[in-house]
Subunit: 287 residues, 2 copies
């Protein structure tokens, strides 16, 4: 089970990329393709296409079950430095699923109203409804990442947030939410190239923000903040996966795999009719 396909993977990326005790972000090669059995992008693109039908079918089954009262839902949390490819994941992996089955939430800097509440307040309000795949483009983790790097809260408050996040996610999992937390990992040099490309191309200027360079100057502090957040919040209930993302095709294939795997583990079947099928056939025939 678990969507492990030997033609595509030598090792299940779910095992290879999961953050467990002793994990060190600095040891991850952002250009690597751990577990991938193919020889390059062409194989990966074919594998990605091949997964679309399965992911779509599983998503529809998740949705169908929610109609008959099943409380299951999936939450994909995407975190990354700028340009690492969150948008591409949303577009090319999540975008292959029926939009009616997806709830996408992008978290920007909190509004004044949001800042007046606990940091999890705005997150709770944007959880997917049952039966849906929710996708967080950034998330409550910003409050221990940018929050830490820019000292937007006291050290004691930041410290407290890791525990609050663990409790929050445990609570969600207990209610039937499968949480998949993905950090897309690129190197500093790769980011520099990608930002430079945005500056070279007039059709990409709108994606560039001078603030991106300001954040970039804090690269090492961000890596430290990620290391701590990954250590403190990768639980058995809601593990983190650090996905090398310099090769975009690899990252996309991994995230698709993680979604398919998570849905397969729910062991879904089509729900039984909640009405008398023979009687409905007769009623319909009479119209």
């Amino acid at each position: 089970m678990g969507g492990h396909n030997e033609k595509i993977w030598t090792d299940d990326p779910r095992e290879r990329l999961r953050v467990t005790a002793g994990f060190r972000l600095a040891d991850v090669d952002p250009g690597g393709t751990p577990g991938f059995a193919g020889v390059g992008q062409k194989n990966a693109d074919a594998a990605l296409d091949a997964g679309v039908g399965e992911l779509s079918n599983l998503q529809e089954m998740l949705f169908a079950n929610s109609r008959s009262g099943d409380p299951l839902r999936v939450l994909l949390v995407l975190q990354a430095m700028d340009t690492a490819g969150k948008g591409g994941i949303v577009r090319h992996v999540v975008g292959s699923v029926d939009p009616q089955g997806v709830r996408l939430s992008a978290f920007k800097a909190p509004t004044e109203e949001e800042r007046a509440h606990d940091f999890l307040w705005r997150v709770r309000r944007r959880l997917p409804e049952v039966g849906l795949i929710g996708v967080f483009d950034r998330s409550h983790y910003e409050d221990v990442l940018v929050g830490r790097v820019r000292a937007l809260a006291s050290p004691a408050e930041i410290e407290d947030r890791y525990e609050k996040i663990r409790q929050f996610e445990n609570e969600l999992v207990g209610q039937g939410t499968t949480i998949i937390k993905v950090m897309l990992h690129i190197g500093s040099d790769d980011q520099k190239e990608r930002l430079a490309e945005r500056l070279e191309r007039p059709d990409k200027h709108w994606k560039y923000n001078p603030g991106d360079v300001d954040e970039r100057m804090r690269w090492d502090a961000y890596m430290d903040a990620y290391q701590i957040a990954l250590e403190r919040t990768s639980t058995s209930a809601a593990p983190w996966f650090v996905v090398p993302a310099e090769k975009k095709w690899y990252a996309r294939l991994v995230v698709q795999h993680l979604l398919i795997d998570a849905l397969q583990r729910l062991d879904l079947t089509w729900p039984a009719a909640t009405f008398d099928v023979a009687q409905e056939k007769a009623r319909l025939a009479a119209t």
Copy 2:
């Protein structure tokens, strides 16, 4: 302009399908393919694929312009009898666009809170943000369709709603919203077949609701309610298009065309940089 492609269309469906004075729903053949130059589904599927890149590019440009203060947005309103294919349009046409550029809203029977407000209250709250393509799966038109057929409001109130809808839509258009209103039109016999298929297939049972047959028994009343709504609310600012939908491939191609056409009419270009490009290149190079 307007995305009219002579290889695909003999006549622009925007002209052929628009509801103008003297329109009679009863005269529309739900199995027709007005304006389509091809010979069947195969040509249409190829044309649909060919349109994906263009629609995606236009959507991204719409989004990019909103970042620099452009108030433009697009709202696609989908209305139809059950099984006519709204879901397929969302999946196969809207679903080809980056999900980050789309805001999908499905309107069910109003909640108690919604019923306590004016019928447009819940609609206003779910309009797309500027820069997005909003899609209404059902809409404020339910309040003059099921509202009329089931007498959920007094005749005077229903009558008043047409005018309120016209005013509301004019207001939106004045603020920079392009509204595309589509009724997917199938025949009663075709609906019967499609409902029967849902009853035959256990993987489709979850889509079946005994209430669908109850509504089906009011088919003629619904057609009357559509006729009146189309007459009263197809304005030059926000016209209706009645799209024959027994051939799903035709309906999908038409809706894609209407979206591409609407976006092309906005005459978008990539927005100029709001920062000093040379200076940013220097800052980035120094990191």
